[in-house]
């Protein structure tokens, strides 16, 4: 998994997510098969389940909101004020979100961020978009370091963030960070121009020979499951 070409993994993930999304919510067995497929992929990539589970926590706030659907949605027609269609909606969203997120975790855990950008470039995503993503990936750590340094500098001079009371200095530091990042942007642009940049980012060098077999297997399996569920409905 770790050594597959990034564009193959991106296509496989996207294809799988689309199959999950079109699967009708009543077809429980289809979701079970999707889950088997994604868990098998996690196992094949040797991603520890604990690692994946912790990453799934990002869904928690979203799922808490979803859990209110059976109570707050359509008029109740079951015990305890629950509604049948609300329950189905909650199940539908929860199952699809979990499967989609697990697939993304597979992709993210086996692919470095710069390789993801390269993969998108090879899939002919417009160069402006991939350039912006590339700069974001490249400078995220630099900006995070800036934030950490400003934070240390503020604390060193007695700043103790408290609820609301600390908002003023924090807001000013965000302003300072914006100015710093803007100035860095100018310097980066000068460096680009100095090396002959004339408005067009160069193409990704390197041969594009990759085995598409894994993507084909994943997508075919997921689509067969989804198609089966649609036919048997």
């Amino acid at each position: 998994m770790h050594r597959l070409a990034p564009q193959v993994k991106i296509v496989a993930t996207f294809g799988f997510v689309v199959a999950v999304v079109v699967t009708p919510r009543e077809a429980m067995w289809a979701f079970a098969l999707h889950a088997v497929l994604v868990v098998a992929t996690l196992a094949a990539a040797r991603i520890p389940f604990g690692f994946a589970a912790r990453r799934l926590l990002v869904l928690a706030p979203f799922l808490i909101a979803v859990a209110t659907l059976p109570l707050l949605g359509p008029p109740p027609d079951l015990a305890w004020g629950l509604s049948r269609s609300g329950l189905w909606s909650a199940w539908n969203i929860t199952a699809k979100a979990l499967l989609g997120t697990l697939a993304s975790i597979c992709l993210a855990a086996t692919t470095e961020a710069p390789d993801l950008v390269t993969g998108l470039e090879r899939l002919r995503v417009p160069r402006v978009v991939t350039a912006i993503m590339g700069f974001t990936v490249r400078y995220l750590d630099v900006v995070v370091d800036d934030v950490a340094r400003m934070n240390v500098a503020m604390r060193s001079r007695g700043y103790r963030p408290r609820w609301l009371g600390g908002v003023g200095p924090f807001a000013r530091s965000v302003g300072g960070l914006f100015v710093r990042s803007f100035e860095r942007g100018e310097r980066v642009y000068l460096a680009m121009v100095s090396r002959g940049y004339a408005g067009q980012m160069p193409a990704t060098p390197g041969a594009i020979t990759a085995s598409w077999l894994p993507a084909v297997v994943v997508i075919l399996t997921a689509w067969c499951v989804a198609a089966g569920a649609l036919v048997l409905r």
């Binding site: 470095e112 390269t118 490249r138 980066v188 460096a191 100095s194």
Partner: protein, 251 residues
């Protein structure tokens, strides 16, 4: 002596807000020379350097790079000939991996395929970072990033390498390795710095710029030994370092 690679005549410059930065600067660097451009903060060193590859356009005076005037029509060729390495390598290494960053310049020159690959490998090898090629820049040390930034410029096959404060924030060992690296490259060099020992070690000639004017030009050792000159222009040797007078002087 041969025709100069860098030939600046009568250059004056003021920033758009009217702040004057350079007054009637005459300055030249010949093939194979290693020249230090010294001066206190705000002396106009960076303004001068940004003229050399046409980032600041000439307001008054003339600049030629190997006989080619620095004007808009020639900018691409000028930027190939003058390799500018900026002070903060994080500003210069903007591509996702070191290899792709080094390839950025030559790709803009229209190279691809084997020729591109050859240029990139040669540049990485020249600065000894072949093993870092596929790393993202933020997974390397400052010294390694500085080398990578130099490789990115070397890959454009420049006639002169211009380094802006190359030793800032480097520890002494990394600084020493950088000095031996730039000497070993054997390329015409202009080093903008206040690191006077570095200038002495690497550059045989020095030019002192203060308040936008060239105030001295001569052998680095002679200039650094002239205490009166150094004091007048806010340049100081590190504590405990004494250069004994003029030609053939010793530390």
């Amino acid at each position: 002596m041969t025709a100069p690679i860098i030939d600046v005549r009568g250059l004056s410059f003021a920033y758009p807000d009217g702040t004057p930065a350079l007054f009637d600067v005459d300055f030249h660097v010949h093939q194979g020379e290693r020249v230090a451009l010294l001066g206190p903060n705000g002396a106009g060193k960076t303004s001068l350097v940004l003229h050399l590859n046409g980032i600041h356009s000439t307001q008054q005076g003339a600049i030629e790079v190997s006989g080619l005037p620095v004007v808009d029509e020639n900018l691409m060729e000028i930027r190939r000939r003058v390799g500018l390495v900026f002070q903060d390598p994080d500003d210069q290494l903007f591509m996702p991996t070191v290899r792709r960053d080094v390839a950025f310049g030559p790709q803009n020159l229209g190279l691809d395929g084997d020729e591109l690959e050859r240029r990139v490998s040669a540049a990485l090898e020249a600065v000894d970072i072949t093993d870092l090629a596929d790393r993202p820049p933020h997974h390397t040390s400052l010294g390694q990033r500085r080398r990578a930034a130099i490789a990115g410029v070397l890959a454009m096959d420049p006639e002169i390498l211009v380094l802006d404060e190359p030793t800032s924030n480097l520890d002494p060992a990394t600084r020493r390795e950088l000095a031996s690296l730039v000497v070993r490259l054997g390329i015409t060099l202009l080093v903008v710095t206040h690191d006077l020992p570095f200038a002495l070690e690497v550059c045989e000639r020095a030019v002192v710029l203060d308040r936008g004017r060239v105030v001295a030009d001569g052998p680095t050792r002679v200039l650094l030994a002239d205490r009166e000159l150094m004091r007048r222009h806010r340049l100081e040797l590190p504590y405990g370092m004494v250069l004994e007078g003029g030609e053939g002087g010793r530390v």
